[in-house]
Symmetry: C3
Subunit: 349 residues, 3 copies
């Protein structure tokens, strides 16, 4: 019931060293793999581990092939990016095991007459699809999801259980939105009059491109007048907050708990470590990388890695250093006084 | 199909300079507005942009009126707070376009017999309303919401899809709770015995005043014995966490990802930037403003703006400065040694 | 309708000084308690308050008993851990008032034929239970919850309304999962090829032990290949994010908004203050305590309290100190220059 190595190479490319008739039933890490598994070497430091692997075959790079060929007895699939190859093969095996729901609308779902549900889409139990919403071919709207009026869900996009996707928002093809995410809630916009807040209606949309993944319990607010835009290939982890009118550039990735305040414009191919925060109305260039726990309080126009968090220490040490941080201006004054005194002394001599 | 300027001034006040018969169909920013739009000038620096605006009319302040009157050809509505006026007019136009559900209970909702649903309230698909809950006139409980036993939802309050509002909690009139918010989950309270946690039942409520807005996926915990209180006019953005037994003073606003630990008391008219954190049992006075990303670890009894986050830098620079921060006590010692040596030297001379 | 002190001592232990026939109807803090209440003294500093309490009886420690016996007129239950005793008695009284749903499956729930629902379990309105899922005796799955294919919910575990518990994940007995929590969403795992992310299927599970409590809107991701593991007795507050393949040791507690990146291993009996963050692949030993707002960027192998956040200051003071922090290397250079000059001077003399 396995898949022939020959078939994998036909599907995913790469050069096979070994018998194409060997069958594998799945993929496993070097140390855990059995002789029914394919494994992968994506880090040359693990060559010794590869040599001892029980896997039937390994995915590896041309660089590692000569050494591994000499020490490891199994077949090899040689490819320039073994980790990407592993991802694709893992997707292939996962799809074989996945239990897909049959297309159609669960009888317990509430679907407006004017909603346009593709016959090959799936609408799960207790889902609500409002008037004018359009659900594309192969899309999957799981149990308890809400899709608002005139929203568009692209082909093969998957909303996991209990996602809320508000009116008029749009997501392209092959997207994934994880449970509890809320797309298109009102942005946080108010005018102040005599200390009281007056709500500014949020009438823009959230417009999401193709191949975007949005994590569990993340929130992306709709724009105030214009739209909030998430470009193609963006990957957002869990519990991320994107304020109204932001634009997140294509193929940018953010780890869990990141927050981006309203009207920030973020470039392409950026990465944000967990709990990084971006203030509103800032601009971040392409290829900027923000470390975890760092607060971006000014625009960052030059590519590179940026960091800003207080280093962890034993509590007593932190208390001492934090007390000095609070008084750094005093320390600077002391140094200036010393410099002055010494200037006088050196003049004297 | 537009609205006469004369009618807007009747509704919202202000002084009209121009023809009251001019009709506008909506509101737009200075640069985007067409001759069917009203626009607004809330920042005097944009006077030049106002002069060139295609808008049929502008909302502006008495201060800007003379200059703009001389350069801009359209009508003007003169008012002391143009941004607040804009907000009200925008609400008016948004309400004209809003598709409101008809009052009544969706047949797929689960409503306990003893729940008291006002005939002008709306209960959406798959909503659950438990026994004894009371839903006020004009209130709107959207799809998938849960309203627990004996909870009270005030008149004209709107729970967006998939809100959870637990037993005995209360919200006043004209409130908005966005999708995924959880009101009245248990506070985090335990006794410790031999390293094991014993749960302390959380039997208080969450009591929310009038005109409060709570963002998507925010959480407000019920009190342990007494109540958690959110006063009138408070505005909370998305993904905010309010611990048990907190009190948030009237007209305080918090941006996304703020966290407030249990039993903190926060004054009126405060603001909190995104991801600011407040430790438990602290007191924060009225009119305190906490910057984004700042940790409040002591009570703040004096009004003003407070900040505390590590400044962002290129990663290599941060590594150098963080290494010094870790060793600030050593630096202080060096300065003391220098001061001592110099004292000796100056005595010598 | 109260409970006799004698019965409480029979149930929960402790030594009674006073009349076992006295009845109490509930528990209240020292200052609020009436003569129908039991109260507790868990902090010796409050002895004076205890003396004046109107409570019918007090729970207190042997240490406080002599003083309190002399000043307070009521009965006493003497026990080594009054706070833990209070927690148990409070649970007892809360259970008396709790309105439990009758076991059974709400007619509006969607339950797969092959799901195994214990006859003493409760499945609420609009819940979805997929094929092969198993719900234990006395478990309670409230309105709007989703329990995926082949998931296991242990005996007496309670999922509050709108929890999402994904396929094949497991939770033990007596657990509590609060509303909006998402257990078993995909971990954040991608290979990169030419700047584009390729999803790595997340095929592990989340495996949760007994007596675990998980807060509202918290998220725990399923493992990539192996499982994410939450051991017995762990207590997680609201809005916590646990990445894929983490292990959280038994009886560790985390306050709200904590984030733990993937593959971190955290020991037993640790505590994390609100909004603390842990980077991926780190190891944290048993009995480590991380303060609120602190970023753990290296493994912590020694027990103790650790802290790292920038101290709050008035904004103008923070601006001055932050500017110096940005230039600490310059300050260090100045000190080195001073040291050098002084060395020359002292040699001269």
């Amino acid at each position: 019931m396995g898949t022939r190595l020959g078939e994998l190479v036909e599907r995913f490319g790469g050069q096979l060293a070994g018998d194409p008739e060997i069958e594998v039933v799945g993929i496993a890490p070097l140390a855990d793999a059995q002789d029914c598994h394919l494994s992968f070497l994506s880090n040359s430091k693990l060559r010794a581990l590869a040599a001892q692997s029980q896997a039937a075959a390994l995915i590896l790079s041309p660089l590692d092939e000569p050494t591994v060929a000499a020490t490891y007895g199994g077949a090899r699939i040689i490819t320039t990016n073994p980790y990407a190859y592993f991802a694709r093969v893992a997707q292939y095996f996962a799809a074989l095991e996945e239990v897909l729901p049959s297309p159609g609308i669960d009888p317990s779902a509430s679907v407006a007459n004017s909603a346009d549900i593709h016959p090959r889409a799936f609408i799960g139990p207790h889902a609500t699809i409002e008037a004018g919403a359009k659900i594309g071919a192969g899309a999957r709207i799981d149990a308890g999801c809400f899709v608002g009026r005139d929203a568009l869900i692209g082909a093969s996009t998957h909303l996991f259980a209990n996602v809320t996707f508000h009116a008029r928002c749009v997501i392209g093809a092959r997207g994934i939105i994880h449970s509890g995410a809320v797309i298109g809630a009102d942005g946080f916009g108010f005018a102040v009059e005599s200390g009281v807040y007056i709500k500014i209606p949020q009438t823009g949309r959230v417009v999401i491109g193709d191949d975007v993944e949005i994590g569990a319990n993340s929130t992306i607010d709709r724009g105030a007048l214009a739209d909030t835009v998430i470009e193609d290939g963006v990957k957002l982890d869990n519990q991320i907050q994107i304020g109204h009118n932001c634009r997140i550039g294509a193929h940018t990735a953010m780890a869990g708990c990141v927050g981006v305040a309203g009207s920030a414009t973020i470039g392409k191919h950026c990465t944000f470590g967990g709990a990084a925060m971006v203030l509103g109305h800032l601009e971040i260039a392409d290829n900027v990388h923000i470390s975890s726990g760092s607060m971006v309080s000014r625009s960052v126009l030059e590519p590179g890695q940026y960091t800003g968090f207080y280093p962890l220490a034993k509590n007593a040490e932190w208390e001492r250093s934090a007390a000095i941080v609070r008084n750094l201006t005093a320390m600077r004054e002391k140094i200036r006084a010393l410099e002055k005194t010494i200037k006088t002394l050196t003049k004297d001599t």
